[in-house]
Symmetry: C3
Subunit: 273 residues, 3 copies
Amino acid sequence: MDGESDDRHPGLHSEQRWHPSWAPFRGMGWDEFSGMEASEKVPLFTRDGRIYDCLFAQQFDRRLLDRLCRVADKLRSITKTRDGDMFVGSLLFDKRAILVFNQPSSRTFLSFQNACHILGMKTSEIRDVSTSSFAKGESDNDSVRTFSSYVHLMIMRMKEPGLVEKTAWHLNSGTNRPVPVINAGSGTDQHPTQALLDVYTMERCLEGGIDGKCIVMVGDLKRGRTVRSLSYMMRNYKGVSITYVSPEQFRMGKDILDFLDRHGIKYSETDDF
Amino acid sequence: MDGESDDRHPGLHSEQRWHPSWAPFRGMGWDEFSGMEASEKVPLFTRDGRIYDCLFAQQFDRRLLDRLCRVADKLRSITKTRDGDMFVGSLLFDKRAILVFNQPSSRTFLSFQNACHILGMKTSEIRDVSTSSFAKGESDNDSVRTFSSYVHLMIMRMKEPGLVEKTAWHLNSGTNRPVPVINAGSGTDQHPTQALLDVYTMERCLEGGIDGKCIVMVGDLKRGRTVRSLSYMMRNYKGVSITYVSPEQFRMGKDILDFLDRHGIKYSETDDF
Amino acid sequence: MDGESDDRHPGLHSEQRWHPSWAPFRGMGWDEFSGMEASEKVPLFTRDGRIYDCLFAQQFDRRLLDRLCRVADKLRSITKTRDGDMFVGSLLFDKRAILVFNQPSSRTFLSFQNACHILGMKTSEIRDVSTSSFAKGESDNDSVRTFSSYVHLMIMRMKEPGLVEKTAWHLNSGTNRPVPVINAGSGTDQHPTQALLDVYTMERCLEGGIDGKCIVMVGDLKRGRTVRSLSYMMRNYKGVSITYVSPEQFRMGKDILDFLDRHGIKYSETDDF
């Protein structure tokens, strides 16, 4: 009807506009992109110095972790009063999130949904999204792109490894209206927000915080995506050592152990619980 | 407890009150009603000059289509700012909608749900409503009537042809508290709101709008309820011609072709894509 | 991070704090607790003279029933205007409820969900909660406790008898952050809120209210949890007599008949409809 420019809803005839940081990766396929080092990807999922897509633990440095812990403390304090609750509930009152889960998880789902509600966001959900064509490597998942156009934020939990990151990659590099994507659990690779919760709990409960502590992680370390994300985050704390306890067949993956070696973090492994 | 009159929640002893326009149809059964011409039905689903139940494409005239396109433009403009989003989100803040879908459709469902949220409405949903007794012709579907009593608006997608219209008929003629019904896809007959989207897109993207254009519709035209609704709406534009492209077994229904003939709209059919 | 005291979110190291009224029941198992008389339990599910957990009909006395009817009248009156709707929608705007249903019920579910929305509450839901371990008598159902930590109110419908009450017992006696629990239908034992609706309807529609009336209850009285709850509530009205009509195998339970005998309420039974 009109020919005006619209930053949020580009005219249908407008050229696709890539975020400048993605320009060099225009035309790069997913296989090539996904093989890049995390350190190369971090800037791409960052905007104006802040995390845009929250995908993996390597995106968090000490400054940010400390800041998030302070914000969490502040929110706990503010929401002790009704006025505080009302204020927090107005922060994102004009925003909408969609939860895209293809892996059942009542706790994670309800936790994210209520977190949205606390901040005033409206939520919708899709639990049975067919991701098969997307997972097989097709470049344009029309469903995910369509869902993203309804909302301001996508929260995704996918049983397929890498599929959450692939969605963020696709929205950033293959569409002209990306929205932030939060990884609420991806395959067996990462679960960064649950690791954030563990970091906050340890910072809050351990005398002197995480620095200098010995952290023991027990269980199925091979497929435990939260302990993987948490191990990455330990890089940010001084003098931490990790003890991994698991049966032989559920040992922590070599990629994590290599990461710890590279960053000089002491660890040991045992099956003796 | 009290004997006061209450327009919205009539006392339980009060006589059923029919909207005056429905008076002549009191006692008419569904079979007879559903056989009436669309032009006879349009006034019944209208209140105070505005569409009350949004059921089929024949309810839309040019004046209304133009107005809806202008409103859509205005909403896009208003919601470029947070203040605008907050304003739009307050418009129906005190209203509640229910989405009654017995046919899976993530896109249509999420689109309507987020549209409600944008306007500030709260939503609830029912996906497995048993409509068998209703579909079989019983006059009083207690479930649908009960659901309607919880909300201000029903958005329905039904796989059975005519069932959305039947619900609106039932609420208007057989209950004393109708709520508006929006057809979000009904059997193979109509899908008027998706046709509205197509109209808006064409008006917005085609130089000079729809008037005088040749529209090509391709695919399963026999069961494609959106192309059926869109064909009806083409009556409102000047000098439009339509080309239907489909395999022989999926040709556009004769009722639509007859409609086009009656309104002097040129069309052709081909299976040569 | 800090060591401050926090009434709503106790520090992780803090001792569990039981509500004083629960102190004598600390350490009492569920089997023993559930065998107690309703009259002994009522004070435990009460806080500051008001019902905290709404679990069974015996919690309602005449003063409260009359008050609830007046509040319902008032709400009907207030919500005749948009300003009234907006006011009511602000009452619990900062609160969140979860609906935990393991028994399908569209009407009850949608009724509670829309009631929450009318009062401004945000809702989340869980329909497939695994209650097997909880039902088997384990003292700590981690799922239910976790869900309760996300919200201010739990609305539960459970097919297992006693499971709703058990949840309230568990949150009050075994956690340090109980939230109120509303029984939206529990096994075959009680459905107090639906009985409240019947009380309100009778008070509103019967000349002179319920006092002195003969109430006829018809159907499957053995498993009809609403007629059971309603029978308990009849204790609060003067000169009520009840006629139970059912086939022999669906007669009202002896516990209810004993209750009526104890409170001098006349009743008769018949299978002659």
